[in-house]
């Protein structure tokens, strides 16, 4: 057991991945001497060499496209995208090439590539540094999309993602980067594509992932004081979704609030609402309610607190759900 920040947990997870398989490579901008702008790869180039921890030329399509080529050659590249807003120059390689190669090659080509993306807002950043692109990836068959919410999950999930034979979009909640948690460095992790009930409750099921899990736990604590019992589920995996865990909670509570920073329209909340309603049609006491970023470009960060879902907005949705 070790008390680590999420950044350090990722660093430790990547280190273990590099140690345990010589085919694992890291590529990205400034990940070498600098250790990445968030220091997730700190010290790794020094210990594993420039061939395994590569500072790439400044071109995201090139980073991902060449990583695909390396994967075709048997490597397991982990690409770092510096910030959420900079993944789109590489989007074509991701959705058209990476996501499809397994199917197109009838399974002959495995493309075990991980794309790490620090995402989400709440850090007072300038534009393009606070976005939540998960829906763009989750809508794409062939990709898997996961996101840890805490250091322990980060440590394990990054290793599982690297070990996966499928391409994984690995979303890192940057505003939780410096949050510390106990990390069980040698334990037995839960499977990568499994959601987790992080707080049990009886009145309303609250679904969240990544940066919003903590916010929802805070909301649940506040609600408890007012006598409302929220069950909070950390989805952890966005594609595929772990509907089993979700549905068995909803069957008990009959009410759901989904929370994410990403835009409301066609966000993860939409898919969850559609599936939950289909699977629990007679069990729902209220429609699935969504608390999400508004459908506008991410605003100047001076007003991001009002833009992002927070405790009050979550509780407001809980109240509305209970009012049905």
């Amino acid at each position: 057991m070790s008390n680590l920040t999420l950044v350090k947990a990722l660093n430790a997870g990547l280190r273990r991945a590099l140690e345990s398989d010589p085919k694992v490579l890291l590529a990205g901008l400034d990940i070498g001497k600098l250790g990445g702008v968030f220091r997730v790869t700190e010290g790794l180039q020094k210990d594993f060499g420039e061939h395994r921890v590569m500072d790439s030329p400044l071109a995201e399509s090139g980073i991902i496209g060449t990583a695909i080529g390396m994967a075709m050659r048997g490597y397991r590249p982990v690409c770092e995208i510096q910030f959420d807003g900079f993944v789109y120059p590489g989007y074509d390689q991701i959705v058209t090439q990476l996501a499809k190669l397994h199917a197109r090659s009838k399974g002959l080509l495995k493309v075990p590539l991980v794309i790490r993306i620090p995402y989400g807002g709440g850090i007072g950043a300038v534009e393009h540094h606070s976005e939540s692109p998960e829906a763009y990836f989750s809508h794409t068959p062939g990709l898997k999309v996961v996101t840890p919410s805490n250091a322990n999950d980060a440590y394990w999930m990054i290793q599982q993602a690297v070990a996966s034979d499928d391409p994984v979009i690995f979303l890192e909640p940057k505003r939780r980067y410096h949050d510390k948690a106990e990390v069980d460095l040698d334990g037995e992790p839960m499977p990568l594509h499994r959601a987790k009930v992080v707080r049990e409750g009886t009145d309303v099921t609250v679904l969240a992932y990544g940066p919003m899990v903590k916010t929802c736990l805070d909301a649940a604590a506040a609600a408890a004081e007012e006598g409302t019992s929220l069950e909070v589920i950390d989805l952890r995996t966005l594609s595929p979704l772990d509907m089993g865990t979700v549905i068995s909670s909803v069957e008990r509570t009959g009410r759901v609030v989904v929370v994410h920073e990403a835009h409301l329209n066609l966000g993860m909340g939409a898919e969850l609402a559609a599936r939950i309603t289909e699977q629990c049609f007679y069990g729902l006491e209220a429609p699935v309610l969504r608390v999400a970023g508004y459908d506008m470009p991410y605003p100047p960060s001076r007003v991001e607190e009002e833009y992002l879902p927070d405790l009050d907005r979550i509780l407001d949705a809980v109240d509305r759900s209970l009012a049905y």
């Binding site: 030329p57 080529g69 390396m70 075709m72 058209t96 199917a103 594509h193």
Partner: protein, 367 residues
Amino acid sequence: MVGNESVPTVQLLTPEGERVEHPDYEFTGSDETIAGFLRDMVLVRRIDNEAHALQRQGQLGLWPSLQGQEAAQIGSGRAFGKNDYAFPSYRELGVAWAKGVPPVNLISLFRSVDMSPWDVNETTFHMYTLVIGSHTLHATGYAMGLEMDGLVGNNDPERDSSVTCYFGDGATSQGDVNEAFVFASSYNAPIVFFLQNNQWAISEPITRQSRIPLYERAKGFGFPGIRVDGNDVLAVHAVTTEALERARSGNGPTLIEAFTYRMGAHTTSDDPTKYRLDDELEYWRLKDPIERVAAYLRRHAGYGEQFFTDLAAEADEVAAEVRSQVLALPEPSLAEQFDLTYAEQTPYLAEQKQAYLEYAASFEEER
């Protein structure tokens, strides 16, 4: 294109079938080898014709013809050793042939029964990529991988390896292709960028993409570029051989611009009469890649008519064989596609498959 004669271009065999000297390049193979190239070119042109006919008969969705580009493809394809990997775009029937990929497999792609009908590892001929330029990055990454595998610069022909990536003149405008140049140069990757400048990107002439010869692009990225007469199989072979050797020995990338011509339509969906003149076609017909080799063999290597008659007969046979293979291709099924999306199937998609199978079965029952 007319008027480009002033650009330095490597040529070893004139359109008239005369061999010429070049200060830096020579073709050292025998006349028998040259006759082999001729055979390759004649066969692939014939197969190409057959595929075209199959499309016209409704058996294929589409066919992109290689006509006119046989020398560029056979000249480069026959320069490969067993550790030289090729990343094609979508018109590389000739390269595939040189790599031993059965033509039926290539054609099956355009029959839309399969997207990956050959073993890319075994053939060292990678998947077709229809999205312009995307594969240049894969090829570069693969080449970087070869270097990491220690397969470059060992001075050991058994081990030293390279990648050759094919793309067109239009592709040079894509960001990805230029990024591939950046990465290949930055990592000194063992790669040959083989650009078939066939003068057209569908209806757009090369002048839309560039106002200077394309081989010059490489220099600005820090590696050599060279233009070769793409209709001269000997020159293409010589230039490619050298570039492959550069790559394998650790001297980095080369851009080869094979100056050639797309004699046919872009694909069977295209109608070139809308945008290009017959004159241009006539001009290029005089530079035909096959005719000049035939003329050389006839005039200077003592090949008689029997050889050519036999070859034509062989071509017809091969084409007929390919046709019957194509028509015998098994139909794909949607059911199997469900399991191909992921290496590790997801519960969600497994459910969708189950639902699909049940739904499909309900129709079976009805019948």
